[in-house]
Chain length 82, copies 5
């Protein structure tokens, strides 16, 4: 599962029916790259999150037929190194 920071909400002029009304987030990665993800937890801009990709991205969605390959699966608080 990859780590990203939520940048904002994507605005589309057209999208495939399989995305339904899914909220799409714009994410920024550790090297500054930009990606788009479906959001299964309601992650506001500024938060650090982790995502699953591939078929796991669909299994993470409430509707598992959603046409996605990247889904936000959790909001990160931090980590314990002990």
């Amino acid at each position: 599962m990859e780590i990203w920071r939520v940048v904002g909400e994507l605005v589309c002029t057209r999208r495939v029916p399989g995305l339904g009304s899914t909220s799409l987030r714009v994410l920024k990665g550790q090297k500054g790259e930009i990606m788009v993800a479906s959001d299964a937890v309601g992650a506001p801009p500024g938060k650090w999150v982790f995502t699953t990709l591939g078929s796991a991205a669909r299994y993470a969605m409430p509707d598992q037929r959603t046409t996605t390959d990247l889904t936000i699966c959790g909001i990160i608080e931090g980590w314990d190194e002990a």
Copy 2:
């Protein structure tokens, strides 16, 4: 889902039967890399789009048996950072 700019329409001298008459777009990525994608939304050259890869690329196509691993799923207008 990755973000790309549509460069143009691919011209082939030969292709596998599983692609049928699917329109194939040439895309340019954030680092200048070039890829080929099937197009599920009708995205003209110059537009910014997002794609799904893997099995989700097939689920996004009207005919889900299309032999593809990358499909254009939406045209990007921009994003809201608030």
Copy 3:
């Protein structure tokens, strides 16, 4: 299967139901990149481990419906070059 070093235990404020109470580890890769993985072997911080990704990440879990795309599958002692 990729090689990583375990950094610590992830702390989340929210996560998808499909992760259940799975222990999530923070891993550091060969280039310093940070990833999150489910843990199928009980790997403490400081250990070198290898992971499977994609559908194999789910097959490696005791509960194969776990919403993961990366699972720790073993603890590395070293390797024999002979």
Copy 4:
């Protein structure tokens, strides 16, 4: 779908039964990286081609049980930017 140039025909001393007598091509990528692909269209050395990966690589083969993760799906003539 990725873009490659065909370099030549792979010669093996041993290979898994699931590859049958499939022709294996050596490809060179946009950054000079070398890969091996099964060939579904008959692409001679020197040609530019595009490939599908993952499960789509198997669906592109005449025998869909072929043990492959990368298949040449078409020969590129060029592209139209209009």
Copy 5:
């Protein structure tokens, strides 16, 4: 299918049951990166090999339920550029 050189045999202190007694090889890639693969052809250290990843890595194994995402599928002799 990716190209690697076999470095040696992995030694683990613990591993998931789904790997059974599969032989695990340590591989070095074109950029010096290190990976672990299950071995379906019996590839000794020093050999150049090619691998399949994802679900094809399982299909290449004698026991297709093996928990792997990378399998050695052949030993490379070289290639013909004519």
